[in-house]
Symmetry: D2
Subunit: 365 residues, 4 copies
């Protein structure tokens, strides 16, 4: 507990895609900040857009009471990225205007600090605002687990539970119908969710963005399984997965080609390729938005609450410009420069890839 306890005012916002645990984290920040340190809390609606448009309100205890288990975010969210507007304009006028407005509103609200809950984009914006002179504290939330500087982000554990349950369900259908079932999971450009859910669900093949796949390897693996009497298979595909061929293309060409093929989702592409190469009946499922909603898992509530409480401590001590993080089994913080403008992908030598391979999973390579 910090010794300092001067009355401070901070603003709090949630930005980017919503995910389970946001409300738990808001409560985790606000309860100690209010009860222990007597801070004033300004809720900012709909992410950075609310700060731009000065859409704010005084956050009172009754607002953050009883929200621990609630999905979504009581503050609302948006994908507004003020600096992105800046970088896209050649004359920078829109971006400059936005960043200026944010700084002006930050001051007008009398904020001592801005607390931002979000993923890579949100913490990157937080870092850039810190470089502009604002006091910022970030919290890492994302179901993709792709934030540099923390071992784990809240949201990931809930998405892992949901995705694993979906794979479990597909198992019965796959087995009863002797089918190949392809399931596409979220994860943006990182394979964390597909890798962990694939291992948890006993996926026979797991395809990650980090390891471009070879359809021949996949086909051979499926045929080997069929020969050994296993007439069904589960293929877990990260939304960012791509073939070896696609990996050599630039992003635009890849996108154009997928649209020509009539399968913007990688799951449909992989399913079609499997049917073509093996003749096995194959079905695709894109799990979609159900992965990011609903009641947070117990683990996410614990993590979100701990990171929230750690953020309140940073506020009390005036340690700004930092993102709270999980480091092994301790809670700590890193400079906001650490996550900014990067993403954390699965390293090819990660032990979970070894684990998957050890239990017989084909990684498509």
């Amino acid at each position: 507990m910090a010794n300092v306890s001067v009355t401070k005012t901070f603003g709090i916002l949630t930005a980017g895609g919503d995910c389970p645990g946001l409300n738990a984290a808001i409560r985790g920040v606000c309860r100690p900040a209010y009860d222990r340190y007597g801070m004033r809390i300004i809720g900012i609606a709909n992410g950075y857009r609310g700060l731009l448009e000065n859409n704010t309100f005084l956050l009172k205890p009754e607002n953050f009471w009883g929200i621990l288990t609630r999905g979504g975010t009581i503050l609302g969210s948006s994908r507004e990225k003020p600096f992105k507007s800046r970088s896209k304009d050649t004359d920078n006028s829109l971006g400059e205007y936005k960043v200026g407005m944010i700084k002006e509103n930050y001051r007008a609200l009398g904020l001592d600090c801005l607390v931002v809950l979000g993923g890579n984009g949100t913490n990157t914006t937080g870092c850039l605002l810190a470089r502009e002179g604002l006091n910022v504290v970030g919290l890492p939330k994302t179901i993709d687990n792709d934030i540099v500087g923390t071992d784990l982000s809240f949201g990931f554990s809930s998405a892992l539970d949901i995705a694993t349950e979906a794979i479990d369900r597909l198992h019965s259908t796959a087995q009863s119908h002797s089918r190949v079932m392809v399931i596409e999971l979220m994860g943006h450009k990182a394979g964390w969710l597909a890798l962990y859910a694939g291992v948890a669900g006993g996926g026979d093949i797991i395809l990650l963005p980090e390891l471009p796949y070879d359809i021949n390897v996949i086909a051979r693996h499926l045929e080997d399984r069929a020969r050994s009497g296993k007439s069904f298979s589960i293929v877990v595909v990260a939304e960012g997965a791509l073939s070896k061929e696609e990996a050599l293309m630039d992003k635009k060409d890849r996108k154009r080609r997928r649209q020509e093929e009539g399968s913007p989702s990688v799951a449909y592409r992989v399913a079609r390729e499997i049917e073509r190469e093996t003749g096995m009946e194959t079905r695709a499922t894109v799990l979609g938005y159900t992965q990011r909603g609903g009641i947070p898992s117990a683990s996410d509530r614990v993590l979100a609450t701990s990171l929230g409480a750690a953020a309140a401590e940073l506020l009390a001590r005036g340690h700004y410009g930092r993102m709270v993080c999980l480091d092994g089994s301790r809670v700590g913080s890193v400079s906001l420069d650490v996550p900014a403008e990067k993403i954390k992908t699965v390293p090819p030598d990660h032990y979970m890839i070894d684990t998957a391979v050890a239990v017989g999973t084909c990684m498509g390579i």
Copy 2:
């Protein structure tokens, strides 16, 4: 309990799409048939295909012990419809051959009766085989709940749970992002699953095949909600839902047009129409195969076990040519003619439609 207890032999198969509760029903038939009536049980693999190909085996107690909670079907399934082959051939040779083979194998196996677990198609085939002189007992399974002659089929309750949970999850995302979320549920040509899950999940709009929708009614409802401060909405769409315009087309034209539009799934079509008509940010999710897999719900286990035990009684009493059913809160049976070649859709005056409308749900009409 029947007084009769001569030793009988029956074959048992599961056909059509798999669904939760099949194994519970197999156990429900086999345990009393074996323990109480001492019958011999022949398991038939992969639905009617197994009977065609004589892919069968002696089913022993250890095979149906401990399967109550398991998803899928221990017997495997297929979509083989022998009579359909018959009607499609002008000279009927393939269909005649198949039906002949089934009758031959039925006799060769020394069956006193054939027990078939499945949906409309399966029980229709069962009825046609009964008309060909075989003894048949049917059990109604389907997540679509569209079998005539029974108030409820097993599989429906589990699918309802899964679909409702998915809608719950979308609620948080819809609310956090002020979006319209469209979710497409299964149900074939009937709206039971969408209607019940829509009411259970608090869907703001529910679209059923039985009530062709008008996009203008939907758009107006969404705008009314927005005006009253509710900036998000959940739209639950049955896979068989169609617009008033489509309802006038024949099936082929409808299919062709959807493919031209690039949205074979109705959810994508509805989402695009909503965005076009209202300008609201809209996202679509097709729940897919996760709706039919996994551990059966408690209600499905109870229903499947009861219907299975009722089927065993029919076997013991020699009451053939019947499908077991739930009638109000009693278990009974109807002639296999009742479900044959029909489907049970939602009547427009069903009380659950009234319920949905009463709590403010727009039915798109």
Copy 3:
């Protein structure tokens, strides 16, 4: 939809033990009552106690918006039974006073009707108030499913899910340790929950209040199982279950004896008797209050919403003195006299008992 739409005022309260679906039912009554019929709604806090103490408030749309999935009751509850006070006092002064106060407050609030959500006690009180001249509409809620006049009460389906999941969990432990696991479920004096959860969970022995058990029958069944290689068993016990010996005692003697034995809960008693008679390692679990809390199941939300909407129709039409009910697969209503002062126990010839026996479950008799 009723044609009548004069502006009416009604009070609404929830009484007795809470259960999943209460909020869904409140929403089911209030949305059509408010949106369609323009009624004024008075929320009454903490059951009949709130009406006694005039602890009431105007219920607004924002109060019953978004509560469909929430556990518990937004109105609070209590076990206050005004007429019980009356009957217990020899001079009746307290009871007379309470009933008088309720009638006075009913009039002072300008109520056209009082809507009561609860179990046997609540609907009995509702009936007695109707006999005193008040307009009353009742809704049947209870996890015990013991209300006369309705096939199903909301709360039962959720409790069934929870209890079945608990039995599933005990299975792994029982099997791994070759133990007998006894689990005690709620149900008051009726065995519905134990019977249905016992069948759903594959209980090897199910003990109901309606069928007093013989420990020798149980012991013999367990020994038979052990001989056939099944070294573990699950015993599902209704909280009201009692032995043949206890069935002959009066309630006080039974209670005294159980306390002397040091096992007020029947599960502990049964576990001790099994250990004594068979020497098998036996453990008891009393599931307790977790059976009545949390998010309502999809089925309970559907039922509660339908019954709520049906109650709103009764209000609009001025059909008072009735309890809404599920009758087969229709929603309807019965006179409040039907449920009053009775409980619905499991009839000995109920098909679910046949089902349990058919799949090899011992009922202890």
Copy 4:
């Protein structure tokens, strides 16, 4: 992957209380051991007792195929502790005999190594056998998370999910009835499960064995809550929790006193004390065996599979005398001396205690 691949034989057993993830771990060891390293695998039934009684069998791929998601253990378990028998006998004859038998059977079976899956007791026995000259590899399983040498044991995550869900359910009841609900969780002498589930469930008071409680502190906290308008509370109690007074007693006196009071479970004791001190209506629930059964959580499957695969590597490399472990976010191993004869309790300065206190939870001190 180890380079070594000589054909080896190892025995595998599961001992102590069962928990979710045991089968996932067995599969995690056996699949790479068999597929990649071609080892022979001897399954040992019912823990160390099976090794004593030579109750063993050849474990084949079909035995460990499809068991990832199954609760319990396919090997069975027992609480046999051979060395404990030794230490208890003054002349040591029984213990010596047992340890001798185990060594004899180990040799007779031609084992290169013995793989033991279990908690503190199991790994302690493993360590003592290693000191007797056997090759042993241990895996840490326990819902208590009290094994020294690993950050996390499998089983804990599943128990956390179950316990948290139970607390969620009690919340609705507590709130609806303005009650204090006391829930007792497992954890043996450590407070990990109560602490994490208490934070995840938003417990208002959390009592751990590591922090003896003062009933006056608890009473004051409840009264403060009541004064601030929160008329209900959730008290999460570890089964090993004890009052300050009890902490000064020796174990026997404590046990005797609890029995005199008629409440062997601490939850009942705490509930009674709260009612006595505050007059608030209080109810106790002992969650019991449901905490250790059923399908493992996604996180437990991932952890169990990884630790299993790591154990297979130790086998392949001949690194014996070790327990695999999770160290931060890496999988590794420690000497079996590390966990032997110790338990890992919650350190008073653990960040999760800080977290609980930060969000307003009273720790009873």
